[in-house]
Point group: C2
Chain length 435, copies 2
């Protein structure tokens, strides 16, 4: 397909959406990339670019002649551009932004000045504002003038003479209103805006709650500095959910189907080596109870069960808390209520499972005392496991850490060590009755 | 606040968005609910209702006099209504829908006829369509007429005389076009639609890829039957991510901060009891190797480490596969490539961790042979753990199961049992050299 027939290829390409073009681009061998790019015109390239990985984007831009690269950089949405530049070193950013039209370059630098993961980073400044004194007719004229510039808009934001955000008006309202009407008469004054330093997760929460399609971003003086559109918010929500899962399961950051094996192994090894040393702590606890274990080898049979179940109750609580915090904010009183709830859950779960395993252990090993030791250990460890799984993410979140950070491995550690200490502690206390 | 001053309360309430009203409603004691509802007018109630839990929605509707309940049911978006009714028994659905205007009731019943989690269930039929022969002026007139009816729209869908979907036109295009222009001349014909039976996860993927704000839903004859809007898609994405986490961490379905302790315990217990019996299988494997363990008690020290690490490599791979499948589709060839990649990762991880633990075990226990046994076991179990974590979700997804279903506990089981068998198998084989 790609060997000879350029005409046919271009035709196929034109029928694809930018996302699908990007998928094709990433699928073909690297040496065909220049040919692929040659077939596309500037606007097609500009639209496809944001769907590539950041590193491929930079590679593509750098492979182009300046007379092609510069207009593409100028035409790209500022937020996409900022996302592409974010991982480059400062000199490279300077080199690329210096090629751009001065105004555009300044816009991008301003976006890059906001901290990562804030509203300021995710916003675009390709939006249209009008002054509150405009009429509907004059607004329409301005929109027509900027029609090529701001394509993804559903609302026009209204500012006053101090450039402060005072209202919002939809295309719908403009369409249905008389051209002579003043914007102030039809605009909605109950416009919700976010501060540029707001965490992007909080922005996403607002979109989910209030069913926005776009939201204006303001600075501390309520000056309108950009807008965030719902397509970027969907990306944020998907990325945050993936990050939560990566953290909770300690699976390594941003590993997808295209990650190279060495990179994937390199990203996962730190957690595993950490786990290995945690395992050694558990091992040394067991070795501390070697005398007990030597006298009652049957204690070893229930070790994986107790450690595994404690770990699992911990991660169950953890998952509930982390996902809950991702969609709701809770205050101290509600946190306490949640802790009490989880404690009750721990007691119910602990007593049920503890009673069950006590009976099974008694029947299996024929020792009533062993049943009591295993059962009562499980009751205690499950209550503690649930408690640790609830309180650790709550504390992390109260001190402004992402509750998912390190919580997975942290809770596994705490629960592994606590469960072994409790189990062997109880067993040693009753040792004379066990043998 | 709520005791006397109704006027003041109403004023406060009016300044809140529907989501925040719903939060307040859920926070106040139950016996104040009727008073709360009395303060609100019909349109406020209608807007707040979808943000309550389904059970609270039904409760509220049932508490109202028919002369208030009926107009609310008629005014609600069909998709919200369908979501509210979905868990009720058929008689109750009939009773409620029979109160509604006939046309609205039929629309809701039609939505409820689609299987759960499909596009048909998530769509609303509150949209505006125009015939392709309309002019821009006539379209605007129709929009004005329906302005109270379809509030959340950004696009107008265009149909031909057979009622088939042929194009789409935005408010923007309408606003900027001359009133005499024909819709066919400005509409985009490259409209992407989804079939009503499409899984809602696939719909969400399309929104994320193509940056839609709404998408038309068609039946098998390409007749336009509804639209899905981006606010519903955000809900779907959040819900699906939560479901993935619930499954992966076996934390129980739909437990949030407001779930009662007994309900939460009841939902989590099945997994824990399953895990308890899995733990017993592990226990009986260990008891099968009791003789080995009695001779070399130090083997017990490394048991939690080996089982824990194997479980973790498995869930690492699992998380990568499950989240990858949530955003990409892969064919058989790509699946094989992924399996090979993960196998290489398993080998790298296995050799690194195996070598490390061999040295540590040798130094700690002073037995060269114990180091070899523990190290080689870990190499093998980590490779197998990675492999199991990759292949099980891929097989589940190939046979159209949700790869996250049961994968978490399933992989824990498989890996626990395999790792213990390998570890004690190798130890028993080298037993003469260990003692």
């Amino acid at each position: 397909l790609k060997e000879g027939d350029r005409e046919g290829f271009l035709k196929l390409l034109k029928d694809l959406r930018p996302y699908d073009q990007a998928i094709q681009y990433m699928k073909i061998p690297r040496k065909l990339h220049p040919l692929f790019v040659e077939c596309m015109d500037l606007s097609m390239l500009t639209e496809m670019l944001p769907y590539l990985k950041a590193s491929s984007q930079v590679e593509l831009i750098q492979s182009l002649e300046p007379d092609k690269a510069i207009p593409i950089l100028d035409m790209m949405q500022n937020d996409d551009l900022a996302a592409m530049l974010t991982d480059l070193d400062p000199e490279e950013i300077d080199r690329l932004t210096n090629m751009m039209v001065r105004e555009e370059a300044e816009n991008v630098r301003r976006i890059l000045d906001y901290p990562a993961d804030t509203a300021g980073r995710a916003m675009t400044n390709r939006f249209v504002w009008v002054h509150e004194n405009y009429t509907v007719g004059k607004t329409t004229e301005k929109l027509r003038y900027y029609s090529g510039y701001a394509t993804s808009m559903n609302y026009i934001y209204v500012i006053n003479s101090e450039k402060q955000l005072v209202g919002v008006v939809s295309y719908r309202q403009l369409l249905l209103a008389d051209p002579e009407t003043k914007i102030t008469d039809i605009m909605s004054r109950r416009v919700i805006s976010v501060d540029a330093f707001t965490d992007q997760e909080d922005v996403a929460k607002q979109f989910a709650r209030y069913d926005f399609v776009s939201v204006p971003v303001t600075d501390k003086d309520n000056l309108l500095v950009g807008i965030i559109t719902v397509d970027d918010v969907i990306d944020i929500i998907v990325r945050e959910a993936n990050e939560d899962i990566e953290m909770l399961m300690a699976s390594g950051k941003q590993i997808d189907f295209h990650t190279k094996p060495f990179t994937a192994a390199y990203k996962r090894l730190p957690w595993l080596i950490l786990l290995l040393f945690i395992g050694l702590v558990s091992g040394s606890i067991i070795s501390g109870f070697e005398a007990t274990l030597e006298q009652v080898v049957a204690l070893a049979f229930f070790m994986p069960l107790i450690a595994g179940m404690t770990g699992n109750t911990g991660t169950q609580s953890l998952a509930v808390v982390v996902r809950g915090l991702a969609s709701e904010d809770i205050n101290l009183k509600e946190s306490l209520k949640l802790i009490v709830r989880e404690l009750i859950v721990g007691v119910i779960i602990g007593i049920t499972c503890g009673a069950l395993i006590a009976v099974i252990a008694f029947i299996w090993q024929g020792s009533f005392m062993l049943g009591i030791v295993v059962g009562s250990s499980l009751v205690l460890t499950l209550i503690i496991g649930t408690f640790a799984g609830t309180i650790i993410p709550l504390i992390l979140s109260r001190f402004k850490f992402d509750p998912a950070v390190a919580s997975g491995p942290l809770i596994t550690t705490v629960n592994d060590i606590l469960s072994l200490l409790i189990y062997f502690g109880i067993a040693t206390a009753f040792l004379s009755k066990l043998t």
